[in-house]
Assembly symmetry: D2
Homo-oligomer: 342 residues x 4
């Protein structure tokens, strides 16, 4: 059986990545692609790398016949996403890639995203899309909220450790190095090649990055108390990949064993042998996440490093993984592409 | 039916690329991987991006039981390749990625590669692996010689034009821009990141690059006379991709029509609408080749530009395409991955 | 004696490059910096790499007291530049970095830049700023028109050859590889890091690039007949540097000797030994231009390759070199910085 | 007065950077350049970007007449450096760029560098070359030991804070992002462009990086007790620049004020306004170090970020700054070049 798929917001990087992945999916067919400002164009005009595919012409959302759609990926900006999803027929399954349905608490949403939520009923029912931790809920969900890409990287490194109570909850530092495609295709001076390449800087320093809302929610939930991490993202001159270097206090070998056990059966999470470290280049273009644990010369300290591709495992690959579950397909369908190195 | 595959020289980039592609191939199983100096290591130690795959341990060639092998990819250095292939059982099909069996004329081989050929009988029977032009011969071949990656790019741009006699054979200039993975994983100062990035230079200038042997052979054959092109490769700071800017004299629209017709049925060659130009970024990691044709303000001049990924369509993807034909499989099996952009 | 300098359009890359160079100039003082949309900001807010310098606050052009200015660099967009320069006091010397005064023939200006010129009198008196060829005129000029950066690269490679009549004037092909800072700091999708890096493409193909106006003018003038070259620029993933690979027909050794002689006394033009090729990485951040000549296996063909930094020798360094001459200073003052490698 | 300068180990990046800087120094003349394996070659053959300079031919160390040398920069590998410096005439001043004379305690040297020191007398007299903190000792020193480039970055961020006792000495984490030229020109697989670009990884994790010896020495000295920091370096795909993100516990505004005061008179250290963050791109090719301080949403936490160019302020620029002091020259001579951006 072939599932009929719509992608809203197909002219951005996560939209294109969904098309790339679905192109070799055995049981999905793309029936609609929306892109408001580029409606009327062929996808090949917007993303020439998809030129070989036969795809629907880009259209406006209101032109889509959702009666003909089984599942809809929303790759729209936050705030827009909630307004659109509210209007979709209730029998269309939705995987949202925006920030709109990630936070359970409307006040937290208002705090981090600066406005009242406009679709509170759906927010209530939406399932947080970190597949490895919400698999059963996702299978029966109507709306799944894709995680932030930085959030996913940090959550994979830390969530089992907090749950197992093997690290000091008050001394957690996440130093992230993010590639630039995570910032999207928007025209900003600091994303120009001449500005970004050959350099390196931190941004959203000091606890201001919105993905902290996800860390707070998920970590506090499993800890049973408030957990606040320090989180500093950096922009590095590469296109894909997030590396999270996480500084924790606890027994490094216990930490390694905890992660190894938590992910033993996971098809996409690879815990490296103790003392080895991952690299973003080794997950590029794939749905895999590599995690390494190392001890420190200071007793009781450990470094956990997680690497994933922000567009794949951090966003569109994760979305497809969730869609597979929602549609009753093999979770890994269309997602076993090996990383593209070099 | 699953074909049993060996890859000799699996520790280089073309070897890794073969593994990456075969990982999602529906009817191939890798039964042996050789890498003389790294024998005994796991592939994941040499190429951590393949960590998720279950693969044979790297071994020496003499440890392989070829009775258990249907087809062997040889990703060995030239000269080594001919010595090894000579020793393989005659019922093992071979796709060679080295330069050893590309040139039909032993004197040409000696001229470009500086030594007598050591496997003249096999050289005689080997088929030149430019699939789109030797498809029928490849289907029944025992040994197929993969083309040079630069050669493939230039041949796709020019061969139909020379065959159709629509350009001046004495005024052909190929200006190529090659990414660095084409130079392999060898330790050379000019391939260091600090040397290569942020710069751009020509090399093998003036008719000294070995792939000219392939151009001479293939172009002269279809022209029925000697054809000598000018060819200047440049190294650009990118990992994958070759862009061939080809300057020809002839009617640009006829040239475009000739190429469009020649490749109309080809699954991997995309001729762009007249006046559009391809980019290497839009074929990255894929087996596609994009070709564009533009006229010039000077009457009777045209520019043909071809773009492909040197590791895929220029090398390992081409090799797999040929192997599919040799094994009676669908030509496109395992090769329809969309390019990875950005 | 210290010359008082104004820079109009200081918030772009060429403006910043002028400030960088003048920072260590022994006899220039920057008294005014304009940037209409960023008026009121400090230069350090727009270009943090200039933070250590004491500089005037960015202002609007009309706020500048030109009575206090000896020489004005105009780094404004074309069309704007002519309107502004028309209004400057006639005793202020001007080095214009836009395209507005490069072409002597108003019809050519209209053809390439799509509009009537608005300052024809000044266009008539302006001197073309290719220092090595117009040195004497520049010394006494009031207005000097900086060349296009691509134009400068091609002119250095070809002008002495055309003048000496040692190449076939009807078979000249310039294949240029340009780094991205030449496109300026403007917000265009194709200049984003995620779009540009790891790729390579041609643009303005087929005789449509505006710098052809400069080639036509300068080459035809020294040839005494119309000369039309083929010119294809490519964008490569680097920040600085232009490499011009020029295909000509003539005796390679004569060509080399002609260039070596023409530039023997030039402080910034280095003709490499015959057969050696330059690289953009070896001129980065400097005012030097390296030129190499190689023969081809086809008799009567040669390849001339020129490399320079588009922001320095191709633009702001050239501008400063001209300003030095106009102000009676040592031509090389402030310009002998060695290239920054790696 | 012109000082006669020798550079030993001139074929590496720090050697070339010394030549680049000295090229515009008002009172230094390079009289000897050694490079054992490349003796006999011109510098332009090894570093074509220095082609415009008139320089001594590369020679072997034993060919240098040190009677004619006032000051010698040693850019040799550690262990080699101590053997060579031991043999130099005692009236030749020495700035060593290796690790050989950085650590005061021979046991610490043995621990981090794995062997007994061979020049203990000189080790005793050598001054640690962090100019801003050892200025007076450097003025009269015969041998100055250049700091590690990572060490310099961390020391600039932290030393005044530890000295002023405004941070918790037991909770200091340095997460460094280093560009690749810091690894030198050596042929290692992980330094190849195809391996390094488009990726990001940590190395020497867990307290194993040798620059920790310098941190331990310098921090413990000013603290008056043992101070151990956590330090994780990462390799980012850029050529120049180190960014140190330092996590400390203390009052962010006090921390900022402490740094601002400590560096108020320093010509090369720029403390940014509170809440601003530096970027490596804004110090590229220069001797400047930018430092920013930000508070965190968690009370009592602060992030200090320091950026410098590893080859300039982190190595050769620092060496020249020290040489200026040793020779009685202006400390900033030859070092006021503005950063090269973009």
């Amino acid at each position: 059986m072939t599932h009929k798929i719509a992608i809203l917001g197909a002219s951005g990087y996560t939209g294109a990545e969904l098309v790339r992945l679905i192109a070799t999916h055995p049981s999905m067919e793309i029936v609609a692609l929306s892109a408001d400002r580029k409606a009327g164009l062929e996808m090949a005009a917007v993303f020439p790398h998809l030129r070989h595919l036969t795809l629907p012409t880009l259209c406006k959302i209101e032109e889509i016949d959702f009666a003909n759609v089984d599942l809809c990926f929303c790759a729209l900006p936050h705030a827009t996403s909630q307004r659109v999803i509210k209007t979709l027929p209730s029998d269309v399954k939705v995987v949202d890639l925006s920030a709109d349905f990630r936070l359970r608490d409307p006040d937290e949403y208002a705090k981090w995203y600066g406005g009242q939520h406009d679709a509170l009923e759906i927010q209530k029912e939406a399932v947080y899309g970190l597949t490895e931790f919400y698999r059963e809920e996702i299978k029966t969900a109507r709306v799944v909220a894709g995680t932030g890409c930085n959030a996913a990287t940090g959550l994979f490194a830390l969530k089992p450790l907090i749950e197992a109570d093997v690290i000091d909850l008050d001394q957690i530092i996440l130093d992230l190095k993010c590639a630039v495609s995570g910032a999207g295709r928007s025209l900003k001076e600091n994303l120009l090649h001449a500005e970004l390449s050959e350099g390196n800087h931190a941004y959203a320093i000091g606890g201001t990055h919105r993905h902290l809302g996800e860390f707070d929610q998920e970590f506090s939930k499993v800890a049973g108390r408030e957990v606040k991490v320090q989180f500093t993202p950096h922009l590095v001159p590469a296109n894909r990949g997030i590396l999270a270097t996480v500084y924790v206090q606890g027994d490094a070998e216990v930490i390694h064993a905890t992660l190894a056990k938590a992910y033993a059966e996971e098809p996409f999470i690879e815990v490296l042998p103790f003392g080895e470290a991952p690299s973003t280049r080794h997950v590029r273009g794939s749905n895999f996440c590599h995690i390494g644990v190392t001890g420190d010369r200071i007793d009781g300290r450990a470094i956990v490093i997680a690497a994933l591709d922000n567009l794949t495992k951090g966003s569109s690959g994760q979305a497809l993984q969730n869609a597979n579950l929602m549609l009753g397909e093999e979770e890994t369908a269309g997602l076993m592409l090996a990383p593209c190195f070099p």
